[in-house]
Structure formats: C-alpha cells, structure tokens
C-alpha cells in the first residue's frame, strides 16, 4: 500500500489518528458523564477505530484484492447481527419466560 493521506504516509496518519481517538476515549470516562452519554461516545469512537485498523493496517482498502477480501471479512456480519440482536439483546430469562404456546413439546 503506497497511499498517502493529506500528503502524509498512510500508516503514520492512521497510527496518529488511533492514538488521538484512544486518548479521547479514556478522557471521556474521566469526565464522569452520564452513563448513556459515555456509552454513545465509546461507540462513536470505537467504530472509526475499528474501521481504521481494518481498512488501513489490514489492507482492506487500497489494494488490488481489497474488495473481495472485504466481502470475505463481512461474510460473518449477518450471523453477528443475528447473535447480537436476537441473543445479546434478549433477556437472560427469555427462554424460561416464553409463553406455553411458544415452547417445543419436550420443553419443560
């Protein structure tokens, strides 16, 4: 990968960006903000950090084979969404709390 960002080496710029975002992340927790605000900031910073590492350090952007490898990396995204939405965000007692009509015959 021989790209530049604002005329600077792409790896250096990515590295500097990640360091700055991490400093903001840690500082946000130190500010003692309401829980929901902290969560929004952490998610808001986590997503670009995730993309920066995957796109630039892992060469999912800018290389000849980046397109097909990005699709490969995104393949489990569907399963990840299913797990997070339908398992992660359900209640721990969701299974035992299911109404009778919703349970398999052998379920007690």
């Amino acid at each position: 990968m021989g790209h530049t960002i604002f005329g600077k080496d792409v790896y250096w710029m990515n590295f500097a960006g990640l360091m700055i975002l991490t400093i903001i992340e840690v500082a946000a927790v130190g500010l003692d903000l309401p829980n929901d605000t902290t969560l929004m900031i952490l998610v808001g910073i986590g997503i670009p950090k995730f993309i920066m590492i995957a796109a630039i350090f892992m060469h999912l952007w800018g290389d000849e084979d980046s397109g097909v490898l990005t699709l490969t990396a995104l393949f489990p995204a569907f399963f990840i969404l299913v797990m997070i939405l339908f398992v992660g965000l359900t209640h721990p007692e969701a299974a035992t709390g299911l109404p009778e009509w919703c349970r398999p015959g052998t379920y007690n």
């Binding site: 790896y11 097909v68 997070i84 398992v87 209640h91």
Partner: protein
Amino acid sequence: MSEDEEYDHPSAWGPHDWHHGAPHNSWSPLIMSIGIGIFLFMLAGAFSNGVYDASYVPMVLVGILVVFCGLIIWWRQDMSFDGHYEPRARGVPFKNIQIRKVAMWIFLMSEMMVFTSLFTTYIRYRTGIENCQTIFERGDWVAQGYTVEAGEAINCFEPASALISTSWFHIAPGAINTFALIISSFTIVQALRYAKMPVGTIEEDVRRKKIYRYLGSTWFLACLFLTLKLIEWFVGFTLPDFLAEFNHGHTHIPSLYEEGYLINAEHYHRHDGSWHDPVTGATMLADIRVSASTFYVTTGTHGFHVALGIIGLTYMTFKAWTGGYTPDNAVSIEYFGLYWHFVDLVWVLVFPFFYLY
C-alpha cells in the same frame, strides 16, 4: 534414488527446498494436534468439578512440550522458505490471491464468530441482569436481607469497570495496554514495509536490522501487554505517596483478585465500603459470578491470543535476525500482521466495554 525423486518425497521434518513445492508431508500439524489434545484433556482433568488434582500437571506439561516439538518442525520448514513457492487461488472469487492470505482471512472470520459469541454473552447479561449499584441505590436490599450480616447474596451485575474506572491509576494498565497494542500494530506494518522494499533500494544489512528491530519491538509490546494484565488481575501496584491525593487518598492499587472480583464470587461486597448503608449499618452482599465470568473469559481469551502472538513473534524475530526476510517472502510478515491487527481490533472493543463502561 534420483535427485528429482528425492524431492518428490522431501523430509517431513524440514528444512525444505521450496523450489520443488510445499512440504505436503509435514508432521508438524499432526504432532501439534496431538499435543493440543493431550494438553486440553489433562487440563480438564486437573480442574475437574472445581477440584484441583495435581497428578495431571506432568501430563499437561507433556502436552505443551509436544506442541512445541510440532512448532519446531514447522519453523524448521519455514526457515528455508524464501518466497519461491507462494501458490495462488485459480478459481473465483479469490482468483490470483495467495492461498495463504485467503486461508488467514477465513481463519479470522471464525475468530470473529468466537469473539462475537463472547460479546453477545456480555451484552445479554449486562442488559438483562440488574446492575449491583442500581440495586444498592434503590435501598430495598436491606429489607430483603441481602446483607453481609445475614449472609444472603443478591444476584446482580457488577461490571469490572465499576472497580477499574474509579481512578486514573486503576485504568492505567488497561489504557497503557491499549496504546501498546496500537503501537505494536504500527511496528509490524513498519517491519512489513522494510521487508517489501525492492532489492537495491535499501542495504540488505539495514533491511535486516530494521525488520528484526520492528518485530522485536512488537514482541516487547506484546509481553508488556500480558505483564500489565497479570498486574491488573493478580498483583496490583503501589503509588508513591505524593500521588495518593489523586487516588482518593490511597497509595495502593489493588488487583482484581485482591478486590475479590472472582469467577466464584458468590458472596461479594466492595472493599472500599461503598455498599455500606449508614442508617442501618448494613453492607450489601452480591453474587457476581456471572459478571466476573464474562469479564475474565472474554479478556482471558483475548490475552490467550496475545500469548499465541508472542510465540509466533519470537520465531519471526529470530528469522528476521538471521536475515530470513526478503521482498520475496515478506508476505509471511503480512499474514502474521493480519492476525496481530485482528487482536488489536478485538481490544478496540474489549477495552471500552469491559474496562471503561
């Protein structure tokens, strides 16, 4: 036997002449699988039903030894790899992409699923079980008898961040680790950059030094990561007196172990006294096994991946020191780098959600 016939059946123990193709008859995968099998079975025996049985320990060590024997064979074969044989995929969708690279991505996909299941577990319990602090502030735990004095514990979720993010010094090991991993991601791409520089554009001895120094730095940062994790989990540390005022008047930063934040903590209360009710004089007692387990399993699985990376980096740094990396075989650093960046990527999610929130 002619020379060509000999190369059709190269040594299964390495080193190997890669001009005649890959060593398909390597014993390494089989030996490593057997070693891992012995290790896991014996480890399960050593900690069966919560009871520690020391008689299994020698066989646990045998398992580790067998794994290392397999690794040495693999490394002996790889040491001779000069980039002469790098097979590419022939069919769609990966046509002309190196097979090793595709394999690494598929491996990383399976790793994504592993960590997703851990994150999903965390989200499920974090959102589904009431937070311990919320229960404490509501105050009805006294009437319900969930107190140290009564000995009855309430099941609630106590995130590790409730202990870790109480002061800058508690966060310090995790925060330093975050920076260490980001820097290590950078050092490994620098090693790759120097390895890929075309012959003639850089002196070979300079290339050799740059690569092994960058890989060595990555190794050092990975070791730092695990050391700080051990300090955070088991050791703790002490601050100089003048820093006490920035840490609520205390100089000692206790480890999570000292805090009692353990996977079997069914009778847990905060050691700083913050679950104490001044009116009744009672202290809330909580069962935090679920929250502690999700924390240790997730961060421990990540730490295990860092440990595996250290093993790989040890070999790669040695190979770089011998001048083993050239533009022809620089992709080996790239493939390991993919794994290492993935480890960094996971930490990008683990750190905020397990340490800060």
